[in-house]
């Protein structure tokens, strides 16, 4: 199926330093005034690090050096604290504008990034069961106006928004820059090639000296350490517009914390901070529309409970998802906590998923966006008819 993608920029993008063009998205004959943003966290986010179950008796022994102290971070309830690196979100939790859904995961158990991300975005019970994304299929429920129905704020349209329904994409003038995780993986490949290995080693040395944030050509900055914020600000501006899109997707990587992930500081904490800053920026740029917006933050799987030999974690099963918005039933941690002790772990290593994250997706479609059950079961998630829509966070 061909899919329309065009770069569309609205007049409200001054903050991102782009030349505004005439708005090209249709005036709202959209069926809903409400907005939905899906934020995909790529790499398998460690839910136990983001929202730590310090109240679980097994937690500190089983997490060992990766355990947070009980007094660290904002307390979300009797069991859970929010990692201080996500501390920018604590006020949102306090005001009921954020909720956590813990111990949630895909029905399809896979520890492969590719396969799991595919199922997270395409739906289905196994990888590549669908060619298109579940959110694109959901867009079919909205009437066609000849204009794009969904917006990808990313360099390219993610699978979740790919399909027959027209979508558009926009990305700020930021070139995704090769990060340290990527270069380290390349370095491993170059162990077999002395000339390339030497050149890369030299380059890394120079790079470290030059510091973060090298300039590319034409005033475009390399995206080092900018994370989600540039995307989130533009996204909010676009969604806030009356004639803008209603449904948007963006993404953040850097969660594949296999080594030395740290607890309240370190590479994972840095990525958490980028996520939190991005979400705060999104709320700010949405302005009054925030009250009509739901943001879902989800990842393809969580990570092992016990640290591995490099003080990181390997691919796991259940993780945490976040729900944010101006009018949600927030300020709590949803989910059926399975525990970390005794025989509670999946295959002896992972947090068990006590809910299917598809339920959360169904919940936002039905309760927030008004998509019919018939359409959800018939077209969007046909293989997950048995999964009940999780409506609680959206029922204010």
């Amino acid at each position: 199926m061909t899919m329309l993608t065009r770069r569309t920029v609205l007049g409200a993008l001054g903050a991102c330093g782009l030349t505004p063009l005439m708005p090209r998205l249709a005036l709202a004959s959209a069926p809903t005034d409400r907005r939905f943003v899906l934020v995909i966290l790529r790499g398998g986010m460690d839910g136990l690090a983001a929202v730590a179950p310090v109240g679980d008796p097994a937690y500190s022994s089983v997490r060992g050096p990766l355990a947070l102290d009980a007094g660290t971070g904002a307390r979300l309830d009797g069991t859970f604290v929010l990692n201080p690196a996500l501390g920018a979100l604590a006020p949102l939790n306090a005001s009921g504008e954020m909720a956590v859904v813990h111990a949630t995961g895909l029905a399809f158990k896979s520890r492969s990034h590719f396969d799991a991300q595919n199922v997270l975005e395409a739906g289905g019970l196994r990888a590549r069961q669908h060619d298109d994304g579940w959110l694109n299929r959901a867009l079919a429920a909205f009437p066609s106006t000849g204009e794009a129905k969904g917006l990808a704020v990313a360099p390219t349209v993610p699978l979740v928004l790919m399909g027959a329904e027209p979508v558009t994409s926009w990305a700020p003038s930021v070139i995704p820059a090769a990060d340290d995780d990527f270069l380290m993986r390349v370095a491993r490949l170059y162990e077999a090639d002395p000339a390339l290995e030497a050149a890369l080693a030299s380059a890394m040395g120079i790079r470290d000296t030059a510091g973060a944030g090298a300039m590319g050509g034409e005033g475009q900055t390399r995206a080092r350490n900018q994370g989600l914020k540039p995307f989130a600000t533009g996204l909010g501006n676009l969604l806030a517009s009356e004639s803008g899109p209603r449904i948007a997707v963006t993404e953040l990587g850097g969660f594949d914390s296999h080594a030395r992930q740290g607890t309240t500081s370190g590479p994972l904490a840095n990525t958490f901070a980028q996520l939190a800053d991005g979400l705060i920026a999104l709320k700010a740029s949405l302005g009054p529309v925030w009250d009509r917006t739901v943001v879902l933050v989800a990842t393809e799987f969580g990570r092992t409970v016990k640290p591995n030999g490099s003080l990181g974690t390997d691919h796991g099963t259940a993780s945490a998802a976040f729900v944010l918005g101006g009018r949600i039933a927030g300020g709590r941690v949803y989910g059926d906590w399975p525990g970390l002790g005794g025989g509670a772990l999946f295959e002896g290593r992972d947090l068990v998923a006590t809910s299917d994250v598809v339920g959360l997706f169904k919940g936002v479609l039905e309760a927030h966006l008004g998509v019919s059950k018939r359409h959800i079961d018939g077209a969007v998630f046909p293989e997950s008819i048995g999964v009940a829509p999780f409506l609680a966070p959206f029922t204010v």
Binding site: D193, A195, G253
Partner: protein
Amino acid sequence: MGALTAPLAAHRFGLGARPGELGRYGASPRAALLADIDRPAPLHPIFEALPSTAEVLALRPKKKAEDLPEKDQVKFVVVGAALHQAESAARLIQAITTPTPFHERLVHHWSNHFTVSVTNRRVMGLAGPFEREAIRPGVTGSFGDLLLASTRHPAMLVYLDNALSFGPSSTVGKRRKLGLNENLAREILELHTLGVDGGYAQADVIGLAKIITGWTVPPGEDGFSFVRFAHEPGEKTLLGKRYGEGESAGVQALADLAAHPATARYVSARFARAFVPAPPQASIDRLTERFRSTGGDLRALARAAVEDDALWTEDRRHLRTPWEFMVAVLRGLGDGAVRPLAAYVEAAGKLVTNGGDLKALRGVAGDAKHGRALMESLKVMGQTPFSAPSPKGWPDDDAAWTGPDAILERLEWSYSFAHNVPIRFSPLELGQGLLGGALSQSTRLAIEQAASPAQGLALLFSSPEFQRR
């Protein structure tokens, strides 16, 4: 002995596999490569939009630059620069789409052998037509014919200053006290024919320079012209042979250089190096013998390379140049880059027809912007078409491309490009399809364990087996 493999055929002799291309080589990669040069595909239609040598020369101001009002000087600079952008992007389209890549590789090789470069600004706009008209038709003909076509082409005459060379005793030379410019003669001997160790002396450089005085592109002309008033009268000597006056003496001199045994050695060695670094002497000797015994038949030379087992070795592999790397990446993804590049060609073309500011090219939007981004990346990686740093052309030894800066620029481009491509396929399957058995276990693992599809794709392009050919 080398193993004939489809991946080597596609990547070393071809320009990098397109999806499905490995299957074409199958059990007889040699035959497929030879079919490329026996039946080369026609040029991509984009080239119909681009001007011929005569048309470019017709755009030149009739007067000398210094005699023109400044706005006309600027206009011609803009036209030249815009044409250069258009030709470069069109060349990339051709490389991406050609179904007969071995033939295209030959075009690139001989174009580099007879380098013309826009580092001399007067070459702007002429380099593309040079490759198209002087080089491309001759890559499977005789070396002598190619040498003659190259030497007579306005781009070469301008690039190496023969248009500024006058016989000291010629009419113009005497009247205006102008003399020889040795540049083209020297490079013909050093870089095109005998090679620096080919056994010529300074007197031979001067002799050849005198012989080709008058070979020029006069202002207002739309092609080569032999200008008698600039030609050095009398007899000249080159490598111990005497040559008379006139244009045909120059044609004869070039034919004699083409037939010189040192030329066979130098040209064949350079040709062998197009495929592997430091080729074994035995291979060079075989190619030299084929060149010599066929009178410089370039199709025979190409066949000899394809038939030489040692050139199929996996022990020596060139690092892909930035151009080769980008071409291989874009070929590997099919035709996706063609429309953006064509839009950029179109935008540059508008500038040529309608005039305007070069800023307009920098500010293109939509598809053209993506096309421009690809060309910018080539520039950042250090290899825009037709802009070799010296008449020697782009270096054929890898050391030039393995500096830390250069490697980092490739990795940065791999990464950002992979994050800008809609990935509806499995990067691992793509890797298997493009590299076949050449995909290493460690790269396979790295792609499988990548944190995202985009990272996996970037790792595929960055892998040693994709970086080399």
